[in-house]
Amino acid sequence: MSLRNHQSLRANMTGYAFISPFIVGFLAFTLIPMFISLYLSFTTYNLFTPPKWIGLGNFEKMFTGDPKYWNSIRVTFTYVLVGVPLRLIFALFVAMILNTKSRMVGTYRTMYYLPSIIGGSVAVSIMWRNIFSNDGIVNSLLSALGATPVKWFGDPNASLTMLITLSVWQFGSSMLIFLAGLKNISVEMYEASSVDGASPVRKFFSITLPLLSPIILFNLIMQTISAFMTFVPAYVISKGEGGPMDGTMLHSLYLFRQAFMFSNMGYAAAMAWVMLIMIAILTAILFLTSRYWVFYETEKGR
């Protein structure tokens, strides 16, 4: 070994030493548990007795013998497919308002971002439960307007709507990213189009949206993934039961019930892996379709 080699090794050693906490953490808390969970998905395991290998039994049960699983998939997809677009539209809308030049704009930005900081927390879900309770502010408003109050947690259709509303309300992080994107669109574009006599609507569809499309793609993917994994609000709002009539039984909540209430750890692990694959496929589809609607300023942008 030459001297130079030796020196670079020593230099590297310091590096390895510094990243070793991460490596240990990654191995101990991510990679190894993942493989164990993969193994468990082919077993029945109740935490007390050793896992018993049953091959594809869990997957078979999931796809053919468990209507509640399919219900949870249906609820989750409704939640994601309705909630995510709404949230993004709302986020973009607010971002455009906050992109104007106003003295208070800094304060507004902070205010609108707040719901996302306290994001998935239990406190927000409890607050949401109070807002939509019998004597809550939403029902008081409805009665004041002459409409009949809604049993938000009692009616199987209303409860998912309420859950989606909550997710739309937490639009802050995508809003901030949109805001950054909007700032990046050069003013000359708009000025030029104004000279050509373009209406604001035309400007939005011909300039803002195309130039923002890479950001939309990013937000879409990030929000979709996180929406699939939503757990806390459904758990808190339905008191852990996914009710009424399983109307808020998100996939993650059903998985949690299988794992920690019924001690079906193997089955829960199998559910988790199927969800992982589903998210991967959906993300791939988003990427593949993106070439038809995402526009990059540099021609070979992708």
Binding site: M1, H6, L9, N12, M13, Y16, A17, S20, P21, I23, V24, A28, T44, N46, L47, F48, T49, K68, S133, N134, D135, K151, W152, F153, G154, D155, P156, K239, G240, E241, G243, P244, M245, D246, R257, F260, M261, F262, S263, N264
Partner: protein
């Protein structure tokens, strides 16, 4: 990279990983040379319970200065999520507060200690009714020591009952009389009750017919006549439909928010639940209330004294003697029980019951009297729910919800529940 480099990395990894795991390994060594004893104890409950339990523990430490006690407590739901992984890692606390629906699972998986050898040695049980003590026996072994007993009943507001046109709950009332009265209340625009928890009261109903929810071995359901299911749940659904009890939308909406319940708001007469829940309810309702026995016929066959919860000792514990001593203290020490005030059920020791009687609040006195009046009538308890019962109960609750929402007939639910429950129980057979 050279050999030396790899060695260094490996060494570092080793240090890091052992540093992580080393934190736990020291905490198990119970008794050490200088007779210092360290106990770990875990329970679930409300804030009130946490407070007085801590006081009892302090009292015990005061009387036994060589003992230190680590406490772990949580809400009911969180408690079981924490306990299961601890059990899997062989790290259960020395003394574990145990619920009747989980005790089979923990006992049958070898997590708990048979306490029979400790009885009348470390734990004095001379003043305890034998039938009550027997409720801690699972598969022939005394795994649990009951903290107190409960009995089912109807807890109601007598004034509101009168307003609904009913003078009093008749003596020895029957299931049919109950339904009649409920409909009468409903026609007077007052809800009679808030329906009944599916598993507990269906089990009671089955018992009055000489059956039970699970068979003795816990391998399947304990009844095979679907008519019982249809009569009971069909009857309850009928009451909902006719406005005698609130519709499921309202029940779901107000679930877990006592302040919004009909009983508290003065639009519902009563509630069906365990006697130990009466005191807390009385505090919130804040009007005179009363307790009534379950409906018959054959109420005596149906009711039983259920342990509110158990104290159990972990099989892995290194300090079982001290754990047993603490349980004895809890059961038989007058001073301690003056702090407990029957919050974990009516004490099982007759002497203690007598000793603390003058200290009780009005509501607690009512409960003690009610339990005392039911005790001679009660039949032996059915065996504790088998492994897999949480899933069976969730399944039952789901189907009943569909029946109550009018999306399924009770007859369909009966058949589906039978199939599902038997599958679940068969899967958990060991």
């Amino acid at each position: 990279m050279g050999k030396k480099g790899w060695f260094l990395i490996m060494a570092m990894l080793l240090v890091l990983t052992t540093a992580c795991s080393g934190a736990d390994s020291g905490s198990n060594s119970g008794a050490s040379a200088d007779s210092k004893v360290k106990l770990r104890i875990a329970w679930w409950g409300s804030d009130t319970r946490h407070e007085y339990t801590q006081k009892v523990i302090d009292l015990y430490k005061q009387k036994n200065p060589n003992v230190t006690i680590d406490v772990e407590y949580a809400s009911f739901d969180d408690y079981w999520k924490k306990l299961a992984p601890q059990a899997a890692a062989n790290q259960l606390p020395d003394i574990v507060q145990m619920d009747i629906s989980y005790i089979s699972q923990y006992a049958k998986n070898g997590q708990l200690e048979d306490m029979a050898p400790y009885l009348n040695q470390k734990i004095q049980v001379a003043d305890v009714n034998e039938n009550v003590l027997k409720t801690g026996i699972i598969a022939g072994k005394q795994y649990g020591i009951p903290t107190g007993v409960n009995v089912l009943g109807f807890q109601y507001d007598p004034a509101l009952l009168k307003k609904a046109g009913i003078d009093k709950i008749p003596d020895n009332w029957t299931w049919d009389q109950y339904k009649e009265l409920a409909l009468k209340a409903g026609s007077n625009k007052v809800y009679f009750d808030s329906s009944m928890a599916a598993d507990i009261f269906f089990h009671y109903y089955l018992r009055t017919h000489g059956k039970s929810l699970y068979n003795a071995e816990g391998t399947g359901l304990g009844y095979d006549d679907d008519k019982l299911f249809v009569d009971f749940f069909g009857g309850l659904a009928e009451l909902i439909k006719k406005g005698a009890t609130p519709p499921p939308e309202i029940m779901n909406q107000t679930k877990g928010i006592l302040e919004e319940s009909d009983l508290v708001k003065g639009t519902g007469i009563g509630i069906w639940q365990w006697s130990n829940q009466y005191v807390g309810l009385q505090q919130v309702v804040n009007r005179p209330m009363a307790l009534a026995p379950m409906f018959g016929p054959d109420m005596e066959k149906g009711i039983y004294m259920q342990p509110t919860m158990y104290w159990t000792v972990a099989a892995r514990s290194q300090v079982k003697d001290e754990a047993a001593k603490f349980i004895d203290f809890w059961m038989n020490d007058v001073e301690a029980n003056k702090l407990i005030k029957g919050e974990r059920g009516v004490p099982i020791s007759a002497k203690i019951k007598e000793a603390i009687a003058p200290e009780l609040s009005e509501a607690t006195k009512q409960v003690f009297d009610f339990v005392a009046s039911m005790e001679p009538k009660a039949s032996p308890m059915s065996p504790p729910p088998p492994v897999g019962s949480p899933e069976v109960i969730a399944t039952l609750t789901d189907y009943i919800e569909q029946v109550n929402f009018g999306q399924m007939t009770a007859a369909d639910a009966a058949v589906k529940f039978r199939t599902d429950a038997n599958t679940i129980l068969a899967n958990n057979k060991q």
